[in-house]
Amino acid sequence: MDLRRTMLFMPGNNPGMLQNGGVFGADAIILDLEDAVAPQEKDAARLLVAEALRTIDYRASEKVVRINPLDTFARQDIKAIVPCGLDAIIVPKVESPEDIRQAARLVAAAETPGQAPVKLIALLETPCGIAEAYPIARADKRVAGLAFGAEDYTAALGAKRTKEGTEIFSARTIVVNSAAAAGIQSIDTPFTDVNDRDGLLADTALAKQLGFKGKLAINPRQIDDIHRVFDPTAQEIDWARRVIKAIRKAEAEGAGVASLDGKMVDAPIVARAERTLHLARLLGLAEGGLL
């Protein structure tokens, strides 16, 4: 399971920020070639990002690049950055499975022999993209996640963005469901008011409740708060341990199902508990093994 609680955008045309991308502890750093970069700076940013990928140590953070849309500079972006050792590409404004397949072909052509396959994350930010979410999620084996971008989406809908996010509720559930059905990750839209910490915490808690596995971040100050929400709590870890213990005991006794606190422990419950413990282990929160 890849850890993508936070994916932090860094402008691809800012050497100072690119240099520091690894110090904030984000699970993934997104070097942005799209919205953060003015059209006249696209070529310079592409060179800078390629160089950053080759030379800067982003420590434990996954290296991700958001390229430009397929109908603009995506071809040049992919050719320049894929050989530089990145982990994944975010493809913006994906609207159909064919968009993903086209991106995958371009990536395959740009990969060097022996290079670990570059993953794709489809950014769904149009009504078409949301409508096609599941086919997009299954379009290619490189697709590791669906990310949701609410700003473009609501603009296209003609809906007003609100802090509580009523207008994006259905899109969020579609993204989560499509990703889960395809067995990949779902990453929630960023919270854009960087000075509203309570708002960020509430929005992230909602995303976690809906089933998202992570959230895009537009400011390093958001990272710790998002992690705090997505990290399993001590109670969740304790519950997960007790679930696994109960099911192991039931198996040893030859029973098909177990019960815990008067409730049946079945396969989905076990899967959730296993995921919680796996996440806890990845984060160093579950010392002492599973039980």
């Binding site: 520091n20 110090v23 904030f24 390093p220 100050r221």
Partner: protein
């Protein structure tokens, strides 16, 4: 020329032209004073005599100010100061030569000083902090004698011990009465505390108050009393309020600065010092304020009441006082209008002199009671020695101010710095100009890890237990060099342009002319 080596391995000449014999730095607390305090001339004033004098030129004649004298000034008006330039213009007009200016800190507004040096009016400078055109002129060897760089506490010590003998102290007074009582909390140029002027007023042979805000006798509150003031001169304007106070000082929004500040707060928490009675000093810069922000959060969460906050006081510290997080503020220098307002109104906001704040040779400087101080650095070396005097090009751009004083006094001294400044590593084998000795520095916090001085094994264990990202200073240095390469060493000329005195008056380093 005879050479000496001081306790941090700096090679120094035994004698420097224009400075005299060098007493090498022997260790932060190694030099024990064996002297008496100097005493100013005993003078009197008779009933009915007036101190108010028509203009500065008249004061120069009555004292009289003569060639070769040392004139002192304070820096509380900062980059809005009009008094230094005004006094030196009079000195130049009267044809005086070979004066020494003892100004506690030099700002860009003091640029005319360079011309006075070129014309021979001024030949010496004694200060704690230098910036702007004067700093550049020093680096390029414009001064005929080496500039003496002291600490804030060291300047007070030097005045008290007679090593910095002041003939005339010119005190910019935001408010004064005709009999020479002064304060900094009223008037158009209100600057708050007059702490750096207090030793000057106490020990100078002559004291001249210059004000643009004359109030009826007796003025209250009194920061500097009539008993130490010879003359009062009323002028139109002593300074530009825009340069004196900075308004509200803002917490940095730079994400790297915030990361460092947050890590710093975690370090402070890990030391276990955040408990009732906690005392704290930090600077007024955006990153230092951010550290204060996180410390404040921890104090609020744990219900801790601190004993005092110290140093340059900002509105943020005032808020902490007023919300009960600290019992007292000890204020040697105010940084904004909130600090001025609070000093005037709040009995728990204490105005103190530089000697009370930080002198190493008295029976109790406030820095000695500090739990934690957070300080900056332009360079740090693998022995934890800090440079806050010269920049990466070797040019003077600062000075110790209270850096060495607070570092020596505090139980835990934390230096915060970006591991990469621009594209240059901040850690090197040997800093270009040592200012604060490594033995008084405990922790270095950067955005890529925290290093603990090996002398503080106790702290290392506490920080390790708290899960902080610890590295050795050598590991951090290697990390920076991996990213940015090893910068070429700055080469300088042989000529010594400044002597860096440690707070006890020994020489910790010298600054040489840039090429």
């Amino acid at each position: 020329m005879n050479q000496l080596t001081n306790a941090i391995g700096r090679s120094l000449p035994a004698d420097v032209d224009g400075y005299g014999p060098v007493q090498p730095f022997a260790g932060a607390f190694a030099t024990v004073p064996a002297m008496r305090r100097q005493a100013p001339k005993v003078k009197r004033i008779l009933p009915g005599e007036q101190k108010l004098t028509a203009d500065l030129a008249a004061v120069f004649k009555r004292i009289p100010v003569t060639d070769g004298m040392t004139l002192s000034f304070h820096h509380h008006l900062r980059n809005g100061d009009g008094v230094v330039n005004m006094v030196l213009a009079v000195a130049a007009r009267l044809g005086l030569k070979n004066l020494t200016v003892a100004l506690s800190s030099v700002f860009p507004v003091h640029a005319p000083l360079v011309e006075h040096v070129k014309n021979g009016v001024v030949t010496g400078l004694d200060t704690n902090y230098l910036s702007g055109p004067v700093a550049q002129a020093v680096s390029h060897g414009v001064f005929p004698r080496p500039v003496v760089l002291r600490t804030h506490g060291g300047r007070a010590r030097a005045i008290e011990c007679g090593q910095l003998k002041i003939d005339v102290a010119f005190i910019a007074a935001p408010a004064a009465d005709e009999y020479g009582n002064l304060n900094g909390v009223a008037g158009p140029a209100a600057c708050g505390s007059l702490g750096y002027a207090m030793p000057d007023a106490q020990y100078a042979d002559h004291v001249v108050a210059i004000t643009d805000y004359l109030l009826p006798f007796p003025l209250a509150p009194i920061s500097i009393p009539q008993t130490r003031v010879d003359y009062v001169v009323k002028v139109d304007c002593i300074g530009d309020p825009k340069g004196i106070v900075s308004g509200t000082t803002k917490i940095t929004r730079d994400p790297v600065g915030l990361k460092i500040a947050e890590t710093t707060a975690k370090v402070i928490k890990a030391t276990g010092l955040i408990k009732d009675g906690f005392s704290f000093q930090t600077g007024a810069g955006g990153a230092s304020l951010a550290a204060a922000y996180y410390v404040r959060q921890m104090m609020e969460e744990t219900g801790v009441t601190g004993s005092f906050a110290l140093g340059g006081i900002t509105g943020y510290m005032v808020e902490m006082l007023e919300s009960g997080l600290f019992r007292k503020l000890i204020d040697v220098q105010g940084f904004d209008l909130e600090a001025v307002r609070s000093l005037a109104a709040n009995p728990n906001h204490l105005e103190v002199g530089a000697d009370f704040y930080a002198s190493p040779f008295n029976l109790g400087a406030a820095v000695n009671n500090l739990d934690v101080v957070v300080l900056g650095a332009t360079e740090i070396d693998t022995g934890f020695n800090i440079n806050v005097v010269t920049g990466s090009d070797g040019v003077v751009m600062g000075g110790s101010g209270g850096h060495s004083d607070a570092a020596a006094g505090a139980k835990v001294t934390i230096v915060v710095a970006n591991l990469l400044r621009g594209r240059l590593p901040i850690i090197m084998d040997k800093v270009l100009t040592a200012t604060t000795p490594g033995e008084t520095v405990d922790v270095l916090v950067t955005e890529r890890g925290v290093a603990v001085n090996p002398r503080r094994r106790d702290l290392y264990e506490k920080l390790q237990a708290a899960g902080l990202p610890l590295k050795t200073v050598n590991e951090l240095k290697a990390l920076a060099e991996e990213i940015a390469g090893i910068p070429a060493a700055v080469t300088t000329q042989a000529k010594i342009v400044a002597i860096v005195e440690y707070r006890d008056g020994t020489v910790i380093d010298v600054v040489r002319q840039v090429k």
